[in-house]
Symmetry: C2
Subunit: 203 residues, 2 copies
């Protein structure tokens, strides 16, 4: 299973944001849902072998995690507004004090908590982190079953950096240009596809 963990440093963990102005009102949920699309979606379907965790670290109700599973999710549209609406409803559905991830819809789970919700899952996979100073993805062996951490436009907060260090994350980069996180994911996913063509699922 491929896993991607996208950290939204200021992404609001509560649903009080406007779909009509995601960049200013949501703490850049637009970045997170573009990362979700790039990691999870293919032409006419989803990647069955992929989990995407969006981590919301912004606002009074943070942190929360919303997890998308390509093998089970249905009716996802690729545009930002549709994906943001799905996230908004998932964030609104979780009761305060809920322990662990709970199902919002098939293939979409949500929980109150941060990276401990990601780490709680059975895991002996190698950990990678996208980092412009890391080693070129074309020059390191990539485990298609790895866990890949991605920062938003702000990079990573100190707690996430400490977690990555503790897990021995290998820093990897995707080329000579400083590009958007979602584009880096598209390039990384392409590299993984070239190593091991993926299982797909009609949408």
């Amino acid at each position: 299973m491929r896993r991607f963990v996208v950290i939204g440093q200021r992404a609001l963990a509560s649903p009080e944001f406007s779909l009509n102005d995601l960049p200013s009102s949501s703490g850049r949920l637009d970045v997170l849902v573009r990362c979700l699309r790039a990691a999870l979606m293919v032409s006419h379907g989803l990647r069955r072998d992929t989990l995407v965790y969006l981590v919301f670290k912004g606002g009074a109700h943070a942190p929360k995690v919303v997890r998308f599973a390509g093998a089970a999710a249905r009716y996802l549209r690729p545009d930002e507004r549709s994906l943001a609406l799905m996230v908004q409803r998932a964030l609104a559905s979780v009761p305060a004090g809920q322990a662990g991830l709970v199902s919002y819809k098939p293939g979409i789970d949500v929980g109150v908590g941060g990276l401990e919700l990601v780490r709680a899952e059975p895991d002996a996979a190698p950990v990678y982190v996208l980092d412009e100073r890391g080693r070129d993805v074309r020059e390191v062996p990539l485990d298609p079953g790895g866990v890949f951490y991605v920062g938003d436009h702000l990079g990573f907060d100190p707690a996430t950096r400490a977690e990555l260090e503790e897990r021995g994350a290998l820093a990897i980069s995707v080329g000579p240009t400083s590009i958007h996180a979602e584009d880096a994911l598209a390039v990384l996913v392409n590299e993984l596809d070239r190593a091991l063509p993926p299982a797909l699922e009609p949408a």
Copy 2:
């Protein structure tokens, strides 16, 4: 100069669509603006050496072209809604019967017409077309000053295919998976960056 030509087979050439439902109301402008972002934008800036042509072939007022120039455009936000609003206003600004591309704003030009508006520009550059059956971008020499044609979720219409054949377009592909056009562009642009690191411009 890198040039990308994104063909929207049903993308509405008139501005009568809703920003609240781009996929259903605009003929998939959401796909076009995601391609625009992937081709033109980097972290905290634009690519100075890049032109992106969006070709609108849908509706009664088609075709139209909106061209973005990274060297001159300003104040572009990367989210779909902001880019779609910019396109909507550009489409509304052009008088019927206008000949050639005219300026809407610095770095954004618009014109009534189709691929002839792209071809009218001085051009001896090689032409490429993204095509899943094409040769792997890692196995062909790519001219970073080429013209790259990209289809939307529907591929290409017969007139565009004829134009590409006439121009001797080389079909290129980006890997083993059928992915979204915007992801294919991210991978292609990465390949071009690896061949020739780009000039960038703060946003």
